[in-house]
Amino acid sequence: MLIIQTKSLFLFHLYISQLWLLFFNTMNPSNGNGSMSTASSSGAWDGRDQFPAGLRVLVVDDDPTCLMIFEKMLKACLYQVTKCNKAETALSVLREHKNEFDIVISDVHMPDMDGFELLKHITSEMDLPVILISADARKQVVMEGVTYGACDYLIKPVRIETLKNIWQHVVRKKARNTV
């Protein structure tokens, strides 16, 4: 008798705390990601009327031709673009400007630090979706990227239509974090 009552009490408390969490998250929609609340208020990308314009993208590629094209395409999508030609620079930028980016797009094959290493750093230190891009379409390389946590792997040449959809990864991640 006593045992059953304790279990019910436990379940009751669990139920109440779930309700409270639900209530709390509904009242503070931007709080789904813990540390993001201050950033969202100052950040650029909560404006639903211009959505997904203003998406804050960091693009990394050591190839200057590709980097120039990506920047133009991303700007044509009305995103806010920051470009880097080195993974190490990109990592410093991300660390110094936490919560000022929504998504990272990175080439895989770069001298010094490559896209996989950058991806590993980002997934362990921050909660940002990372898209990998490469001219390398070999299955094992794509597999590696996806296994390490890339939310997508695009093969060069990338079309603007593909970049127009990348905001979905940001929304998906936010939705998962809120659960």
């Binding site: 190839d63 200057p64 031709t65 590709c66 094209i69 044509a76 001219a135 390398d136 040449p157 079309r159």
Partner: protein, 149 residues
């Protein structure tokens, strides 16, 4: 040559570049990105491609001259050239890069040297053709016309 003739010549020339496989859909993407805010975008990005490709091709030549060939390094350069050529739509250059990478994987120096020659050749061709295309464009603009889409 009057403006209409110039414009016709331009369209025919551009069409031939696609038909002969020098350019592909990706080049069209670049043209579509060009607007009033960035009227020289295509010329700028293609010029960047020329500059960077020549650097890569010189590096490749140097790398293949070495006593002990670093195939990893060669592969990295070819991979980059493949990426950039595909991004601007230089289809024939991209195709040679694919064959080049296969020879790298096999560590076949003869094959690599042959591909280097081929890629220089294709690169020079597409460079000449694009320069001619841009020249035609310039002539049209100077004559007060607009570039046909």
């Amino acid at each position: 040559m009057d403006l209409v003739q110039l414009q016709r010549q331009f369209v025919d020339y551009r069409t031939s570049l696609y038909h002969e496989g020098f350019l592909d859909e990706q080049f069209t993407q670049l043209q579509e990105l060009q607007d009033e805010n960035n009227p020289d975008f295509v010329v700028e990005v293609v010029s960047l491609f020329f500059e960077d490709s020549e650097r890569l091709l010189n590096e490749l030549a140097r790398a293949l001259e070495q006593q002990s060939i670093d195939y990893k390094r060669i592969d990295a350069h070819v991979h980059q050239l493949k990426g950039s050529s595909s991004s601007i739509g230089a289809q024939r250059v991209q195709k040679v890069c694919i064959a080049f990478r296969n020879y790298c994987e096999e560590q076949n120096v003869e094959g690599c040297l042959k591909c280097l020659q081929q890629v220089w050749h294709e690169y020079s061709l597409v460079k000449t053709k694009l320069e001619s295309l841009f020249q035609l464009e310039q002539q049209i603009l100077t004559a007060g016309g607009s570039i046909p889409m």
